[in-house]
């Protein structure tokens, strides 16, 4: 095995120069349905990348292609600089954590973690040492003699991660790592995965349909839809500068309107005027703005907060309050204001307020 004995011993020179994962023009079809469509991207060594998208968008298939569990119909995969498109999964040396863990039911925790090392015929002592190190890393010391069915969901998940990390893989791939867990356990494990990644420094790619998970943990996000990559960027870029209408709609909550460019560089919508650039007159435009980018005040604040609106409905949403606002002409806007602001300003159903939109994204309809 040419892999370093431990995952965290990544060569300093390699960082940033050699791509851990590089895929080019990957395509995969199942019975006429194209699950992955000409996908290309790169992941740098040591990154923690989320593959985010709705169910059925092909993200799990993409992950399985990278691991070798699916064979692409076209395209190439390079792992740590080596072409591996035709390499069997057993020789790729990737760590893969299955959605339902796929732990070996008839083996103990210890045997599960040691499996990949025993297969590589490492000396017994080395195996013991490595397993014990990993048990510490995933905080399962003392449970090595248990069987998977004697563990909680979160514990099984950690065994699966430890098993995948044991042979010091070139990259770690996780398929919906928190998908099968309770909300509370998920939140705990998010933090844990991040810490584990910081500690091990192994390049990690995980699949999720949960935007909060992706935004919170990853240092890069690939947003996928219908087999294609819609955007590849940092969480901040994804959230603040969505590249496509899909990303704008999928990540975060939105007000969505459709309007036409009727004046040069301006899209009027009710009392609002959205400045847009580079669209010809008459072009149909989709505009998205986030509820928290709607500024609400009980008094007009010129020049930007001057549109009169009526609160039709308030909804308590924990730390913030959601306001359903009517701005006349049968037009509605959803706004989120901090709970405290809402209380002190007296935003109640029926009261009149002034609003302004502080940020928005425009896309051509075609």
């Amino acid at each position: 095995m040419d892999a370093p004995p431990f995952a965290n011993e990544v060569n300093g020179d390699e960082r940033g120069t050699v791509m851990s994962i590089e895929v080019q023009h990957l395509t995969k079809r199942f019975n006429g349905f194209t699950a992955v469509h000409d996908v290309s991207f790169r992941v740098e060594t040591g990154e923690l990348v989320a593959l985010l998208g709705p169910s059925g968008c092909g993200k799990s298939t993409l992950l399985r292609i990278i691991s070798g569990l699916e064979i692409p119909d076209g395209g190439e995969i390079h792992l740590t600089g080596k072409e591996t498109t035709q390499v069997s999964p057993r020789d790729r040396n990737v760590g893969f954590v299955f959605q339902h863990y796929a732990l070996f039911k008839h083996m103990t925790v210890y045997e599960n973690i040691a499996f990949g090392l025993k297969v590589r015929k490492l000396p017994k002592q080395e195996i013991e040492c490595r397993v014990s190190e990993l048990l510490g890393l995933v905080q399962l010391k003392g449970l090595e003699k248990r069987y998977p069915f004697q563990l909680s969901g979160g514990q099984r998940q950690r065994v699966a991660v430890a098993r995948a990390l044991a042979p010091s893989p070139r990259v770690l791939l996780l398929d919906e790592p928190f998908g099968a867990l309770d909300t509370k356990v998920r939140e705990e494990l998010r933090e844990w995965i991040q810490q584990l990644h910081e500690h091990s420094q192994v390049t990690t790619l995980f699949v999720t349909h949960d935007q909060h998970e992706a935004l919170e943990i990853a240092n890069k996000i690939l947003v996928m839809n219908s087999g294609r990559i819609e955007q590849n960027g940092t969480p901040l870029e994804i959230f603040d500068r969505p590249a496509t209408p899909f990303v704008a709609e999928f990540v975060g909550e939105n007000n969505f309107i459709e309007a036409e460019v009727t004046e040069p560089h301006l899209v009027p919508w009710g009392p609002f005027r959205f400045p847009v650039n580079g669209y010809p007159l008459g072009e149909k435009i989709r505009i998205y703005f986030r509820p928290h980018d709607v500024y609400v005040s009980s008094l007009p604040e010129y020049p930007h907060v001057d549109v009169k609106a009526k609160i039709m409905k308030t909804r308590f949403r924990g730390p913030m309050t959601e306001l359903n606002l009517h701005i006349g002409g049968n037009k509605q806007v959803i706004a989120h204001v901090p709970k405290g602001v809402s209380l002190t300003s007296g935003f109640i159903e029926g009261s009149e307020v002034y609003i302004g939109i502080t940020a928005f994204h425009a896309f051509s309809k075609s």
């Binding site: 569990l69 057993r90 760590g95 039911k105 905080q139 069915f149 004697q150």
Partner: protein, 301 residues
């Protein structure tokens, strides 16, 4: 779980009694009485007569031949069952359902027809039979025919038992082993085989029971040559037709013991599989094991 005792959802007491009564009578007549009769008749004339019947040279020859046929047919069908179930449960390929039907075929063919096809294939009226005869080889009305027929009749048992088990288990564990660097054989022996262990044992037991007990098919190909081509069931027939009733039942009781052992193993395997099913279901069932570490380890870093 299914046996709910909520009163509003059950039948009136009298109806329940009648249904249970009918069940007991039906089972009593058709299953319990025959069992009792076999052992009563077998031991009617005392243990000495019983042992005399089963240790007589012709009986011993029949037992030897039955053991030989099973010893050859069962291992072949076990290997086939393992390979075929791996193929059918783990891969998709055109013609899979046809193959599955072919594997089931010996179940649906009358035992008499099962024997007959080997007579047609290797008998003297066919060209294969003539060729064999010219070269001094005998298959039908000889031991090879008995073994071949036994293989045909017991052919589906192991595969039929393993295919559904492997299908419900899916391929995730095998994929995990593969990604961890294990090869095909290692994956099979270390991951797949332990998971299908109980089903395999059950399939072998069933296959063996049928191999030792088959009557119709073997009767057609054997030619009933005493001490030579008689299996235990054929020997029972001969004894019975010659009015050696108690001897016939003594030998039959051997096969009955085998049947009872098969039923016991079946029940044990069913319990084991059910246990496994409960154990592998995703919900966490707290066990009476030391839990203080669990509590501690549930906390994140």
């Amino acid at each position: 779980m299914h046996a709910r005792n909520s009163h509003h959802l059950s039948e009136p007491f009298a109806v329940r009694r009648i249904i249970i009564g009918a069940t007991l009578i039906f089972v009593g007549i058709f299953l319990v009485a025959p069992l009792l009769l076999v052992f009563t008749k077998a031991f009617e004339n005392g243990l000495a007569a019983f042992f005399a019947a089963i240790s007589e040279p012709d009986a011993l020859a029949a037992i030897r031949l039955t053991l030989l046929a099973a010893a050859i047919a069962v291992p072949f069908n076990v290997v086939f069952g393992l390979v075929a179930s791996w193929l059918i449960a783990k891969f998709d390929f055109p013609g899979k359902s046809i193959l599955t039907t072919l594997i089931d075929l010996p179940f649906t063919v009358s035992p008499v027809v099962s024997g007959m096809i080997f007579v047609l294939l290797f008998g003297l009226q066919g060209w294969v039979g003539e060729w064999l005869d010219e070269h001094g080889m005998k298959i039908v009305f000889a031991i090879p025919g008995i073994i071949l027929t036994t293989m045909f009749v017991t052919f589906p048992f192991v595969a039929r038992e393993l295919i559904p088990i492997m299908q419900t288990q899916g391929t995730e564990e095998e994929q995990a082993a593969l990604v961890l660097g294990a090869g095909g054989w290692k994956t099979f022996f270390r991951v797949t085989l332990p998971n299908i262990k109980w089903g395999l044992i059950f399939g072998i037991i069933l296959c063996n029971a049928r191999a030792m007990g088959e009557f119709g098919a073997v009767s057609v190909v054997s030619g009933h040559i005493r001490g030579l081509t008689n299996t235990i069931p054929l020997h029972v027939e001969i004894l019975y037709n010659e009015y050696h009733m108690n001897a016939a039942f003594a030998v039959a009781s051997l096969l009955t013991f085998l049947a009872l052992a098969t039923l016991i193993v079946k029940k044990v395997v069913e319990w084991k599989l059910k246990e496994k099913l409960i154990a592998s279901s995703s919900s966490w069932t707290p066990l009476p094991l030391p839990t203080k570490l669990t509590e501690m380890n549930e906390e994140p870093l």
